[in-house]
């Protein structure tokens, strides 16, 4: 049976991708960011997932305003990096797993999540930057990735409570899958940032750190945060953090924080990263 072996939260700041792609990781501005991810790279190398379910949002790239799905799921065999205005990122094509993805879509729809199934979708920095942070610059990504895309661009995004519930439903589906797969759920986006309007550059370190704390200590409490609080306290684009709650919902009640990293700034954004494992599994394996 498949199982979820870790949940990872990770910012997906596009400038981090640019820095990596242009070989600037040792620049004064960037070196602490990349150093901060070294431990996570070790951890993911140990975990060796067979599959990653990556929760991200499209940034006006694959979805025009014609159609705005709340939750969509990519069932294709591959997902090409999109041209966001600078040409596509020089990273490998992301391979999917159509069998698992369709299985997951079916399970979620039959469990009352109103997914949009995507047979074709190009992926932007929201999906590729976290892969770069976890795996560096390989010729191919080490495992298939199932993209789950969340609308956080047009108000309203799904609520934190709904996101957490989706995580729960993902966990159920994974646990019922018949193949032996070690699955990592990767929640991306955040942490505090605002990149439009006169309030650009807003950073709320104490709010972010409390959010990171409560991922372990009080996940249910986090689901009660209203959307407007994310916007007001962490910047308009900080709303992306609801996606971390999908990751969190996919884990057990009782988790262990294996690693955490927090840094300001990367471009306009506070960078956050957390690695959570289920305490039940941790005990078994150590």
């Amino acid at each position: 049976m498949a199982q979820i072996v870790a949940g990872i939260g990770c910012s997906h700041v596009p400038a981090i991708g640019v820095a990596l792609d242009l070989g600037k990781t040792q620049d004064e501005y960037w070196k602490d960011v990349f150093k901060g991810f070294e431990r996570t790279k070790e951890l993911i190398a140990e975990i060796k997932p067979d599959l990653i379910i990556e929760i991200y949002n499209d940034h006006g790239t694959a979805f025009s305003l014609k159609s705005i799905p709340t939750f969509s799921l990519g069932v294709a065999a591959e997902f090409k990096p999109a041209d966001e205005g600078w040409g596509p990122r020089p990273v490998p094509v992301v391979k999917g797993d159509p069998d698992f993805a369709w299985y997951l879509a079916e399970s979620l729809i039959l469990n009352e999540f109103d997914m949009t199934i995507m047979n074709e979708i190009e992926v932007d920095h929201g999906l590729t930057v976290p892969l770069s942070l976890l795996f560096g610059q390989p010729k191919e990504w080490p495992c298939p990735v199932i993209p789950i895309c969340v609308n956080v661009v047009t108000y309203p995004s799904p609520t934190g409570k709904r996101c957490f519930a989706l995580g729960r439903a993902i966990r159920k589906a994974v646990q019922e899958y018949k193949k032996d797969l070690r699955v990592v759920v990767l929640g991306t986006g955040g942490m505090s940032h605002q990149i439009h309007g006169e309030r650009c550059g807003l950073i709320n370190r104490s709010w972010d750190e409390s959010f990171l704390d409560r991922l372990s200590s009080d996940p249910q409490g986090l689901t009660e945060i209203p959307l407007v609080e994310y916007v007001r306290e962490t910047g308009a684009e900080g709303i992306e953090m609801v996606m971390w709650l999908i990751m969190r919902g996919a884990l057990d009640e009782d988790v262990e924080e294996a690693y955490r990293f927090y840094h300001v700034p990367a471009s306009n954004t506070a960078v956050g990263n957390i690695v959570l494992t289920n305490r039940s599994q941790t005990k078994v394996t150590t």
Binding site: S64, L65, E84, G85, W86, G197, V228, R232, A236
Partner: protein
């Protein structure tokens, strides 16, 4: 409505809601067209001519021609779509953000390196008005 409850109360913030989505529809669709290299070339060669293919308002057209990023947002642009125009013009998200705040690139970066803009005093228009009221009376 309770104080501070609604997102329209947040200063310097233009949440991309139904009103912005309706107002900025064609502006954002224009921006998206710049995801193709050929369109970027055509736009950079003659931006005014390129814009005629999209039914923008005068104010939107001028905002684009002036590269006035804040105005684009105020006219219904969403930053993620607008960033495609930014990229076409060689600007990063950081440079667009600086421009929207009216700061120089250097000062904006300095602010970010020292921890970013504080949320204190930046939460609520009502709160700001109340504070201003206390000061002046």
């Amino acid at each position: 409505m309770k104080k501070y409850e609604h997102y329209t109360d947040i200063p310097g913030t233009y949440l991309f809601d139904k009103n912005a989505c309706a107002r900025g529809y064609h502006l954002n669709m224009f921006c998206m067209s710049l995801m193709k290299e050929e369109n970027r070339r055509r736009f950079l060669a003659n931006d005014a001519a390129y814009l005629e293919e999209y039914p923008l308002t005068d104010s939107q057209r001028h905002a684009v021609l002036d590269r006035n990023w804040l105005r684009m947002i105020q006219e219904g642009g969403n930053i993620y779509y607008v960033s495609k125009l930014g990229a076409t013009c060689g600007l990063s998200f950081e440079e667009m953000a600086a421009a929207m705040t009216g700061m120089t690139k250097e000062n904006y970066r300095k602010m970010m390196l020292s921890g970013g803009r504080s949320v204190e005093g930046n939460r609520s228009k009502i709160e700001q008005l109340e504070l201003a009221g206390k000061g002046s009376h």
